[in-house]
């Protein structure tokens, strides 16, 4: 008899297609894995941004992964509430982003405002805090474009929301 833990582990290991060093559990978009009365595995995921185009791929990858773990019937649900925040990124996820060359988001200090102010973003290449934002919108909805004044390298920064 397969356990719910096995389904959860299979779903949790699915990688984000746009940030392939992060699992969906690291990213905080895997919200719940449950077993329905009729034996279906019900996986709930939430998008990072309303229009995140990776959601369809993630949904399919989760279905495939849970099927591959031996479960016949899988349903993937998208939930919007509560809204995703970068505070749900795990510590290992933040480190993986950093190692991949993407500066992790600063932590939101309060929950009152919709957007947090970032005090300084460290260059993921050389570690310098002497960096500047070149565009608030980057290659994906969740990132902004930055340049390091010390090593001159451009880099992505995951925006705190």
């Amino acid at each position: 008899m397969l356990s719910l833990d096995e389904a959860r582990a299979a779903a949790a290991a699915v990688l984000d297609p746009e940030l392939p060093v992060l699992s969906i559990a690291d990213l905080g978009i895997l919200r719940d894995v449950a077993m329905a009365d009729d034996g279906r595995v019900v996986v709930s995921i939430t998008p990072t941004y309303s229009g995140c185009p990776a959601m369809d791929v993630i949904r399919r990858d989760v279905e495939d992964a849970v099927h591959a773990a031996g479960f016949d019937r899988v349903e993937v649900r998208t939930v919007l509430s509560p809204a995703w925040t970068t505070d749900w990124l795990t510590e290992s996820g933040r480190q993986a982003l950093q190692d991949y060359g993407i500066a992790p988001p600063s932590r939101r200090t309060t929950s009152t405002g919709p957007v947090a102010l970032s005090l300084s973003v460290r260059c993921p290449q050389c570690g310098s805090p002497d960096t500047r934002e070149s565009s608030r919108f980057g290659s994906t909805a969740c990132k902004s474009l930055w340049v390091c004044n010390a090593c001159r390298e451009p880099f992505d920064h995951m925006k705190a929301i």
């Binding site: 998008p47 941004y49 309303s50 229009g51 995140c52 185009p53 939930v79 919007l80 509430s81 509560p82 809204a83 995703w84 919709p114 957007v115 070149s134 565009s135 608030r136 919108f137 980057g138 290659s139 909805a141 474009l145 925006k159 929301i161």
Partner: protein, 252 residues
């Protein structure tokens, strides 16, 4: 057939987001700099995501079997319920930035209030989107400041952009019986109550950008919420819908 009021309300907000998303998409490969191509595509994508939630929900509430795609691609012009402001052509980049400021300031105020809606789907959509639209308003604000308080030429064009779109502002804050019936149930936001806060923010940006608030004398009837649109809307729909209509039911 009459749609339930809630479905119509979701469609109004969804059509605003969908049509503006299309206009922003028109800038891709045409913006004045590469970063702007990326920024406007991102903003359009956020709006498209909001539109998908709202149109899907309108279809669910209507319970007539229409999907988000049916509503986006198979309705005719008279069935679209967006305000005129979002359908006006892009024209000059400054016109588009004026629209982004005027619309995102309204939409941010709307979503901030809609988070407390008694309807959980609208509340959930708004709580998510409010974080996105805060970035949109900030982006627009920075451009309006830079162009307004820039060179003589950029100032002239930014002022002209505002003048161009100002006649379409009043419609955004219009309300009607349908909206009021949902306001009474704690579901919708009375758009007319957002105007004072909007004026405060926009006036502040215009003053800092050394721009002059246009006179609001030439207000058109504003029939967008009743499906009456300006001429560019038909051309927009032709472009947005032709592929789907040429290949009904196609998917990839």
């Amino acid at each position: 057939m009459t749609m339930p009021a809630l479905a119509t309300y979701a469609l109004r907000l969804g059509d605003d987001a969908l049509v503006l998303s299309h206009r922003l998409g028109e800038w891709v490969t045409n913006a004045p700099q590469l970063e702007e191509d990326v920024a406007l595509a991102n903003i359009g994508l956020d709006l498209l995501g909001q539109a998908r939630t709202l149109l899907s929900y309108a279809g669910d509430v209507e319970a007539a079997g229409r999907t988000e795609d049916d509503l986006a691609y198979l309705r005719d012009e008279r069935e679209f319920l967006n305000v005129h402001l979002v359908e006006r052509p892009n024209e000059d980049f400054a016109v588009s930035m004026a629209r982004q400021l005027l619309f995102s300031t309204y939409q941010l105020a709307l979503y901030e209030r809609l988070q407390d809606s008694a309807d959980p789907t609208l509340a959930g959509m708004a709580a998510k989107a409010v974080k996105e639209v805060d970035y949109h308003r900030d982006h627009a604000t920075q451009w309006v400041l830079r162009l307004g308080d820039g060179t003589d030429e950029s100032h002239r064009r930014m002022q002209a952009g505002l003048e161009r779109l100002w006649p379409y502002v009043d419609e955004v804050f219009g309300t009607d019986d349908l909206e009021q019936s949902l306001v009474a149930d704690g579901i919708a936001v009375d758009a007319s109550t957002l105007r004072a806060g909007w004026d405060g923010y926009v006036d502040g940006v215009l003053a800092e950008a050394t721009l002059t608030r246009p006179e609001g004398t030439r207000t058109p009837p504003g029939g967008g919420r009743r499906g009456i649109h300006t001429e560019p809307m038909g051309f927009l729909l032709a472009e947005m819908q032709h592929l789907h209509r040429a290949h009904p039911g196609a998917s990839w």
